[in-house]
Structures are given as C-alpha cells and as structure tokens.
Symmetry: C2
Subunit: 389 residues, 2 copies
C-alpha cells in the first residue's frame, strides 16, 4: 500500500487490536488456553467436581452464604431468571432507571406483565436513596426493587448499599444487575443485604460471553417457591434440584465454565481487595489522563468499570471512536440513544493495568491533536493519579 | 503404582479420555484452536461479517430459505423459544413422546399453559405417521405438532418427512427438535415442509454447548407476529430486528460462534451428503460390531446419531458403562428413567470415523469378556458393515 504524506498519520500503526469496550473485554491468555483444552463430559465426576468448585468460588466472590446459579445465557438471561422466578402476577416493582440497563429491567417487567413504577434518574447520575425511600413509603404494595449497580450505558454507579438499608427492613426484595460491577466494585451480598445479584461472564470475569449467574441471599431462599410466572429454561427450582450433584438441568456451557474457573483462580491469586483497588486506580488514572487532554467526564457518580467521556470541545465523539479504531486499533464504545455520537465509553474492567491505561490515553492524545484540539500531559496525569490512589 | 496379577486387567490402559456420549461430543482440534483465538468485539465489522456468514451457512445446512436465529443457550433454550414465539394461549398442540426429549416438549408446553395431547410412543420406536394423521383428523383444533427427530434417550428416530406431509396441507405448524440429528440425518427443511427446526451446538455441530439455533421456514415467517406468550430473552422479534445488521439483541456467545464457523467449514469441506453417509456407516458399523459381541440393539428404528444397546445376557448395563470409563477411559451414557442401569448409549455424531468405531468395539469386546460373556469378531463385523454400507 502506498502511503502519501497527506495520509501517513491516518495509517494504522498498532500491531494488534485492543478492546477497551465495556464488555466483552480482553481475554487473558491463560483463559484462552483454558478454552482450548479438551473439555470433560458434563456427566462425569471430573466435571461435577469442577462445577462445584466454580459455584463455591462464585459464592465467595459474591460474599454470600446463599445459592449460586450458573446459567447458559448472556447477562440478560439471568435478569429474566430473576424476574420470572421471584415475582408473582400480583407483585409490584420499583425500577431504578438511569440508562439503557435500567430500561432493560423495565422492559423485562413489562414483557412479563408486572405492575411497576420507574424511578427515572438523569443519565450519568446515581439514584438518590432518599427518593427510593419516599417511593417505598408512598407505595407499600411494592414488593421488589430492581436496580443496576454500574450502569454500562453511562459509566455511572448507584449506591446499592444505601438502597439495601431501605429494602431489607421492609422485606422488600432488592434485585441488582451487577453485570459490569462484579469483580470491579465491592458488593458483599450478605453484609449489604442484597437479595439477588445477577452477572454475566464477559465483564469483570474476563471470559467470553455465554455464561450468566444469579445468586440468591440465604434469607431469600424461599423467594422462588411458588408457581408464579411461567418459566422453564430459567426455572431455578430445576437448577436447585440438580445442584447438590454438581449438575444442571440442561447441558451447561462446559468450556465457559472451565474458563471461569481459570478467571476465578486469577482473581483469588491477586486477592479480591487488590482487584477492587486496581480497578479504582484504573478508573482514577483514566479519568485524570483524559481530563488533562480536554475530555470531560460524563458521569457525575462514575463507575470504576468504564469511563464515559465527552470529547474535547468542538470534536465529535463519533470521530474519536472512529479514529481510535482505524488508527490505533483500539475498540471503545460510543454513546447509546440520545448520547449516540456524543460520548465515548472506555472500558477498563478485567485484566487491565497501568500500561493499558497509558495505551488508551496515548491514543486519546493523538486523536485530540489529529482532530484539531492538541493537548499534552495525559499520560503524566494518569501516572500521577494511579500513584496517588 | 504396584500392579498385582489379580487386578492388572482392571488397570486403565487408555492414554486419553474419549467421549462416545450422545453430546457433548469430542471437539476436533481445529475447533479447539478456533476457541483459543482472540475473539473480536461483537460490535465490530469483522464480527458482524462473521455472524452473517455463520447464519448463512446454517441456513444452507438446514436447506432453508427462511430465517435462522442463533441463541445464547443450550438446545432446551431454543425449544423454549419455539414454544413462546409460535404459540398463543388458545393454541392446542399434539406432542410426540417416545423418550425424555419428547417429554421435554410436553413439560415445556405444560410450563407455559398450552393445552396439549401427548401421542405416546413406546421407547425405542418411531411414531406411526398414520396415528399422527388420526389425531390430527380427530382434533381439528390442533395448531401445532411438536416432535423429536432423533430421540437421544432411546437412540431411535421419527419419520419427520411423513409427518410433514400431514401437517403442511393442514396448515398445522410442525416443530422439530433436531438437536441430535442436524448434521447426522438429512432434514431438508423447505423440501420436507418443516416449519421450525431447533438445534444445539454440542452434537453434530461438534462445538461446546452454549449455542442454540432455531430456523423458521419461509412460509412460516409471520408465525410469531403476535403478542402471544410473555417472552423477552427468547423473543425472536427482537432477534429479527437486529439480524440485518449482523447483530443480536443481547451479547452473543462470540467464542462459540467462531467455533461454529470452523465446524461449518469442516462440514462444507467434507460435503453434507458425505457427512450424512459417514454417519450412516458409523451407525451400521457400530450396530454390527456390537451385535456380533452379544449386545442387542434397543431401538427398533435406530438413529444414526447414537446406538442404544442392551448388554450381553447376564451382564448389567451399568457395569459396562463403568468398565468402559475405568479401564478404557471411554465415556458413554447409560439409560434414563426406567432404562437406568439397563442400557448403554454410544454416541457417534460429529467428527468420528471407522477408527473410532473400532476403538469402542474393541473396548466393548474386552468388557464382555471381563464381565463373563466372552465373544470375538466385533471389529471384523464392524469393518464389513462399514465397507458394505
């Protein structure tokens, strides 16, 4: 290919594609290796033992003495499992909606005919727990609260601990989508009082998509012992029945469970508190580096899983996303709905470190310059924020 | 380890574990390699192009001009998708039940409150199409027939072509579970007139479990255009909307889709007719070899996906299953329900060849001898049957 003087800076210079997406995330080599091993049959002692170990390690990761269900589905499948197993037709729900994934709870409740009231939160903001309290007091018929923890569409976080302080004493079920927060932010299920946590595999758990989890707190064990809504593939009563044998009612995604075991080993080796601290440092470094270059934070209460950014003044968000892909081979996500084309969302959950932050900050600096807003000092600011955190 | 004279024949002599299970099956090395590659993000052009190619290749494999849906789930998830998308509360179904997987259709219909009548078939037998005709004539309110093609619990096969000749002229929907027949037995969807075919990934498609498919024949395109039953994760209307972009409404199991592309390439390289012929020869060779050793066929109308066998007279089925695992490192399945402990089910779908049949026949011969029913000539019979087929 001939490179002319005019276009040489637009030529792709990266030697490999890097994902800085808010999931699926980069898969560590150890996990790719786990995926390529010859998997055992799921009805063998060797797999049953693996399945039990993985289930136990997931309970440990959730800090729960309750039950852990592993489902062959994306995270949305686990969200559906929560709705169809916990609720009955006469239940009423409060739904915290501050982005696309809060909306997903609402759409699920709508699809299954559950009466619900949305608590709309401005995108990028965390919900005000006092408002949750007002809603719960105003409508004592509410039996369940559905919330996102880290809202992937906006890069913001909701204060689940404060919400749980309101739901637990009222015996209202709290169901939390922790799809982009598990392994990123602390979320000790039993200590905080969260009835149900759902998660997916392709985020903080670092493995490919296709495996989802649902954990049920010990005090909520009987929450699904009713006919309730029609359910089959996601009927957790069937999963509960086969769990003691290390089995699932339907063939589990064996290769993903082997990958998950490797991921959980990696998390245990690093230590969960260190993993949470590292994500905090990754987030602070990314924010500081990007802000030093003229990018602005979108979220008022930012998550540590991803950083949502407005581009420098006068630059299109979509242009940055495009240039990151084409020149730097860096894949980030753009905005959704009314934020389409306006923001970029930089994921940093999973096996990322300071070097990765510097990679993306270096590319953001080049993009700012190429798109007419040159700035310097992003990498330095990132390093300082990392060191101070 | 000290090997005493008394136990030396019970020592494991195999150098590796081999799966002869009726799914998940052995995964070819090419597919393991596909699983270990660094996967692209699903919202990139490279993945969208892959997704479209895989969808197209699956349509080709089904011999349909209709729509193909790929779901992040086990095959049971695709069965649920068929029920919740096609049926409405007032529909009535006829269900052909000749084993565990026919029962699964029945349990699904029950879970979703659909009026249905079972057509019970003796395990191991194919349904009599004349009986299907009688039922359809007797109850004109039946709007859908649910059937298994290859019944994995018994190793038998139903004559789908004859059933489709009854359903198509009556505008009754025919929904077929082809989980252990796709890529094994011919099932040309449009030519035969099958409205819906569901499949899973870990059988004839040779990849790990976690990906399921549902194909909708062209004349049935409007079959799911109604509110019908509550659905969300499996709502095919959402999949239909995102399909033209090469996308899915929820994050797809990316790594399994890469693996599926490799599997479909392997099938195309061999040629689908050759793949079907090879499975026929595998089945005939397995039956002949086992019968020469005193094992008896369980199925009256046997499938080419697996061979269900009674052990030689006086031997426990469970003892053969156990010895195959412990001495030969060969994993086969036992019987289910009233057949538990009585039969063994030897899978040979996927990338198996004559050498694999000889491996399992050799082990069956050793088992027969060790369990008190010595016999010879199994391998020879298998080779002759293979050659004659």
């Amino acid at each position: 290919m001939t490179v002319t003087t005019e276009t040489k800076t637009d030529v792709r210079t990266a030697t490999r594609v890097r994902l800085f997406t808010p999931g699926p995330v980069e898969i560590p080599a150890r996990i790719l290796r786990a995926l390529s091993q010859i998997p055992p049959h799921h009805r063998t002692e060797v797999f049953r033992a693996t399945f039990k170990r993985v289930t136990e390690a997931m309970r440990e990761l959730h800090r729960t003495q309750g039950e852990m269900f592993l489902l062959g589905a994306s995270g949305t499948g686990a969200m559906e499992a929560a709705v169809v197993n916990l609720l009955q037709a006469e239940d009423q729900a409060l739904v915290i909606v501050g982005g696309k994934f809060g909306e997903r709870w609402m759409n699920l409740l709508k699809a299954f005919g559950i009466t619900h009231e949305p608590l709309m939160v401005e995108w990028g903001h965390g919900v005000d727990p006092a408002e949750v309290e007002r809603r719960l007091n105003a409508n004592p018929k509410i039996t369940a609260v559905f919330s996102t923890h880290s809202e992937t569409s906006t890069g913001s976080i909701h204060d689940i601990q404060s919400i749980a302080r309101l739901t637990r004493p009222r015996n209202v079920r709290l169901v939390v989508d922790a799809i982009t927060s598990l392994g990123v932010h602390p979320l000790p299920q039993d200590e905080w009082g969260v009835d149900v946590i759902v998660c997916g595999s392709q985020k903080g758990l670092m493995i490919p998509p296709g495996l989802a989890s649902l954990s049920l707190a010990p005090w909520a064990a009987n929450a699904m012992d009713h006919e309730g809504l029609p359910r089959f593939y996601f009927d957790l009563r069937r999963f509960r029945k086969s769990a003691p044998q290390g089995e699932t009612p339907w063939t589990p995604p064996v290769s993903l469970i082997l990958a998950l075991e490797e991921a959980l080993t990696m998390i245990r080796e690093e230590g969960l508190e260190n993993v949470h601290l590292r994500h905090r440092r990754l987030a602070l470094a990314t924010r500081a580096g990007a802000q030093a270059l003229g990018y602005r934070l979108f979220a008022a209460q930012p998550s540590h899983a991803l950083t949502a950014l407005y581009p420098p003044d006068g630059v299109e968000g979509a242009a940055v996303v495009k240039r990151l892909r084409e020149v730097h081979a860096i894949v980030v996500a753009g905005g959704q709905d009314h934020l389409k084309g306006k923001i970029l969302r930089v994921g940093h959950m999973g096996a990322y470190d300071l070097g990765d932050v510097l990679t993306v900050i270096g590319a953001l600096e080049e993009c700012a310059a190429a798109l007419g807003r040159p700035a310097r000092g992003g990498a330095d600011a990132a390093i300082q924020a990392w060191s101070a955190a």
